[in-house]
């Protein structure tokens, strides 16, 4: 036991003496490590590019308008006021009950120049990473949309999944709409876009989608349009129709039904509602699911036609008539009516697209993918070729459910 203790003691001593002789070197190393730590502390927290929350003006929506001088544009950024935002339903608190946002605006030669210029008027730096909507005014879109696109795609702070919209009238006014359920107009519009699945009457377009369509060369990019309407002296924003672009400029519009047509063709329609007229009155059908498939088919004579197959599944949602719509004959009739309705949407859109000579459906891309050799021949004069492309529409409609009622609620229906 004792021996053991002596042994370990000796070992400790020896280790100590060794460490003593190495003390000098260890000291240097320790100093080095210490310096390194200081360096890391200075740099790892990235103080250099620090951006504290209270020095940022978080932008939630941006609009671009034509400026009053030639070749200028007006940037309006909607900045959230955090102090107003947090107050919830209580009106006491610190909140003065005012708006939860501020719109800042400047007119300059370019977007970035306007952003820089705004730093002279605002104590906080505009921070675009949380930008949710980007609205171009129709007037600007008709002149040139490229500049705004480039800046918002190129900058590292902005994102490509912002919603892109075109306004009828001045874009900056859209961000001044009266919002009732939300606190910030930009959030209202952004959530509005997220809610468009249920009616299938608006194209939902992000910056990425728009840029992809722009790059394609044959496709005509589309973007939803937003406009203001007045009710009780207050202005509210609503989505209405679709803007069609060609060569970086807005060249026309599609109305609600034609927009629905585009969505049917491009497989973006999801649900919606159709009211059909029957000999007895109106019946409302709900589209539960739908999917479509667009394929170019080469005919025997070498011409390419588009073949569109749409599968629609619906349900009887409302019956204003006194007639029992659940009997097979009526179901078949409703199916037929639904088919016709879808077909007229699609054809309306096709007519408008041909009139504008704008390939809003992506026919060109589909042909490019399926028949690359033919496409090489066609792409040179696609503007002339596109209106000549025929389309066969095949619609399969299904009515799968009748809702909670087997028969309509009719006076005396119990007998």
């Amino acid at each position: 036991m004792k021996k053991q203790a002596v042994k370990t003691g000796g070992r400790v001593l020896r280790a100590l003496s060794v460490s003593f002789s190495q003390k000098c070197r260890k000291g240097a190393r320790r100093a080095g490590v210490f310096l390194l730590c200081i360096l890391l502390i200075l740099c790892l927290c990235s103080c250099w590019s620090q951006r504290e929350l209270n020095t940022l003006a978080i932008v939630l929506g941006t609009t671009l308008d034509v400026g009053d001088q030639p070749d200028t544009l007006t940037l309006t950024a909607q900045v959230v006021k955090a102090s107003e935002l947090g107050s919830g339903t209580t009106t006491k608190g610190n909140s003065s009950g005012g708006k939860a946002y501020v719109n800042v605006s400047y007119t300059d030669n370019s977007v970035l120049a306007a952003v820089r210029e705004l730093t002279r008027m605002q104590n906080r730096r505009l921070y675009f990473a949380h930008n949710e909507v980007l609205i171009f005014s129709g007037e600007l879109a008709k002149k040139d949309i490229a500049e705004g696109l480039d800046v918002f795609m190129r900058d590292y702070e902005t994102r490509m999944n912002v919603n892109l919209l075109i306004s009828k009238g001045k874009a900056s006014e859209i961000l001044d709409e009266n919002v009732e359920l939300e606190k910030i107009p930009a959030i209202h519009i952004s959530r509005l876009m997220g809610n468009q699945k249920s009616n299938s009457e608006t194209v939902v377009v992000t910056l990425r989608d728009f840029a992809i369509a722009t790059l394609s060369g044959s496709s005509a990019p589309v973007a939803p349009m937003v406009e203001l309407y007045e009710s009780d002296g207050k202005k509210y924003a609503k989505l209405e129709g679709t803007a069609v672009f060609k060569k970086g400029k807005m060249i026309g519009e599609l109305n609600k039904e034609q927009t629905r047509g585009i969505l049917w063709v491009t497989n973006k329609a999801q649900s919606g509602e159709k009211t059909v007229d029957t000999p007895w009155g109106q019946v409302t059908l709900e589209v539960l699911h739908s999917s479509s498939d667009l394929k170019p088919v080469k005919g025997e004579d070498g011409t390419i036609r588009m073949k569109l197959t749409i599968d629609v599944e619906g349900a009887i949602q409302g019956n204003e008539t006194t007639e029992n719509m659940s009997i097979p004959e009526n179901v078949a009739m409703l199916k037929g009516k639904m088919k016709n309705d879808v077909r007229s949407d699609v054809e309306g859109a096709l007519v408008q697209a041909r009139t504008l000579s704008a390939d809003v459906f992506g026919f060109g891309e589909a042909i490019h993918r399926e028949y690359p050799e033919e496409w090489e021949k066609m792409k040179g004069n696609w503007d002339q070729e596109f209106p000549k492309i025929g389309m066969d529409v095949q619609i399969n409609a299904e009515l799968s459910s009748e809702g909670g009622l087997v028969k309509p609620v009719t006076p005396g229906g119990a007998q």
């Binding site: 000098c24 070197r25 240097a28 190393r29 080095g32 310096l35």
Partner: protein, 75 residues
């Protein structure tokens, strides 16, 4: 400011590297080390004074493109 940083860093490097060589009396290593050390130090000083040092990579690029004609087209 930059020069100061460069000098501090190089003193630090010397402090970390030299003791081992001196203690083991590796004089040949030390000589080689000093030459390299001085070369890099001069380079650092030049950079600190914002002198434009020509990039060897750019010279090589010119050589491959203009003399050997080996280069792809930039897309």
């Amino acid at each position: 400011m930059n020069l100061l940083l460069v000098i501090i860093v190089f003193i630090g490097i010397a402090l970390l590297d030299l003791p081992d060589m001196i203690k083991n009396k590796r004089w040949r290593d030390l000589a080689i080390y000093s030459v390299i050390f001085l070369l890099v130090f001069v380079l650092g000083t030049l950079m600190a004074f914002d002198v434009k040092v020509p990039s060897p990579i750019k010279a090589i690029q010119a050589f491959y493109q203009n003399v050997l004609h080996l280069s792809f087209k930039a897309s």
